[in-house]
Symmetry: none
Amino acid sequence: MDILPVIEELSQPTPSKILLVVLDGVGGLPKEPGGPTELAAAKTPNLDALAKKSALGLLTPVYPGLAPGSGPGHLSLFGYDPFKYVVGRGALSAIGIGATFQDGDVAIRGNFASFDTSGLVVDRRAGRPSNEENERIIGKLKAEIQKIEEISIALYTESEHRFVVVLSGPGLNGKVADTDPQKTGVAPLSARAHDAGDAGSEKTARILNELSKRIREILKDEPKINGALFRGISERPRFPRMQQAYKLKPACIANYPMYKGVASLVGMEVLPGVESLSKRWAEFDFFYFHFKKTDSTAEDGKFDEKVRFIEQFDSWLPDFLALKPDVLCITGDHSTPSVMKMHSWHPVPVLLSGPNLRNDAAERFTEDHALKGSLGQLRGVELMPLLLAHAGKLQKYGA
Amino acid sequence: MDILPVIEELSQPTPSKILLVVLDGVGGLPKEPGGPTELAAAKTPNLDALAKKSALGLLTPVYPGLAPGSGPGHLSLFGYDPFKYVVGRGALSAIGIGATFQDGDVAIRGNFASFDTSGLVVDRRAGRPSNEENERIIGKLKAEIQKIEEISIALYTESEHRFVVVLSGPGLNGKVADTDPQKTGVAPLSARAHDAGDAGSEKTARILNELSKRIREILKDEPKINGALFRGISERPRFPRMQQAYKLKPACIANYPMYKGVASLVGMEVLPGVESLSKRWAEFDFFYFHFKKTDSTAEDGKFDEKVRFIEQFDSWLPDFLALKPDVLCITGDHSTPSVMKMHSWHPVPVLLSGPNLRNDAAERFTEDHALKGSLGQLRGVELMPLLLAHAGKLQKYGA
């Protein structure tokens, strides 16, 4: 069931402030059986002291066994059922880079790729070009492509080999399959409507196939970037905003497009730079603070680097506490064990500091201690009602 | 998903008896961080001895973060999904006081209130009158109001400032908003249909607005009680009965209207007085026993009084055990921490005594011990299938 309409009914505005810190991919695994995880290996005096006064638990981001992407991982933490509130990757990227992207538009994540003379894909990422090279190519394409049929085509550099396309115009929709074949040595797929005969998706697919062709023509003399693959074709989703669902005035502090994108989708104002947290503390009553390095180092398999960034966050913690949030929650959107070099399904520790807590046997912010915590075991989507409750923002359910 | 139809398919009648004791609001919080909760502070030799031989767990009544009212809290324990089986407050009160309340009728919870000369509410509870004063006013109103249009109006004293209205007649429904403005210094709201244009709710709202006006006129010379506010306007819900869903013959022993009401709604026979438990033990195979004082003392903020009533219940426990129920379950419908003076969302301990239990590290009926119990962590709605299973009343699911 979708709890959001129930929470909307019960939520009430109050002056209390909630700070939700997401240490991306913070949950981990031991390097060897019996050894410490990244969190257990890290020296975290500030987190340890806070854990002793807090309630801990273990949070399964989406569902046991499911390793969530950043979108569903974060939507869960924000209280949105990730099976109901689904965002396509293209939509997330478009919002994240600040593209003009309105209701009815369709966004696509593009990969610049290298094709051989017979039209087969030889490198799905065109040798990971620099952002500058990406911008040069985008400039070249923009000069030649503005419209296909009556549909406006907007093109944006994302980073390296990634770019974003936004289609604007009547009668489009996002129910179209990727053209990325996910391997080399084969031709790209044709863009194809999920439901044959659906006019909107047939039209979107037709525009994208024409766009693919035009890009190949324009780039035919480029040595590396001579084509594109399309992924994550999607409309802009229309989700309830946190203002309405929770009566909050929410803000996001994140550096990467993806996290800004998902935050803005649920109504958060995206603030620039880490220093905004203290500077603009008075203006909002909910802050989402995103810390990326615990994920990116683990995706590169760098256990010790991940440990170092956990320790860096620990050194920042006193500054967060100095703001005196009424409710402070520290958790992750998923685990990224360094030994796996990828997002995983393992539950992540969650720490809740605030009023009305039960006693708790957990003494550190680690996976082991979290299992003994008084919050027990939670799903990601259950976190937000708990934060609202501890902040005094939820009325009683039923008489 | 609603488990009730599945359970109905699997349940079978057997001679075994289940006793479900609900210590209202029994879960608590420490007075100071690190201190004991009410349950941990209480001296409970009988509960301790039973806990050592039982399986414990922690039960989240409705949903993490949601503080349930008595209705959803109890319906969950009885196995009814509180998001699907919703009862309005008026309906619960009407059933609870034994009012004639039939399918198609609409029940309303009234508050006697004090109004100033310009019609603004100055006390939403009219100084909490005695039950006798309430009865005097109800008598005065009944003498003058029997019908509005063709709708019969029945009026009942509930307690203190609370009374109940039952509307009977054709074409009514309960989709009407409260007239209680929830604050003083303002006029009461008009009764208004949730969906403008819906004939049944427009009619109900019209009758209630006329009733408000008539009550003000009749009571205009009363010094304190000179008006009424309407809340929880609701139809009588039609729920599956426990007889049908569980093949049980169920009985309720409770002193307060609310609990009798919700019990009768799921088919329980309401028995008079505590002594009915032993007197009528042979006649039923499911008993729900309600103990109120753990909640009411905590709502008044009286930590030590709540402890004393936990100890009182402990002294009664040998009498319960002497009946030799096949399955005995002790839990709460929600937490009411004395320090919060209100229902809370925190999970409550649950104790299950009977056959086929796992070993269990829990040694006392407290929040801390329950977290270590072999029942793990449950939702309220998951309890009843477990009790039926331990009582041998559930067949295998699927071949």
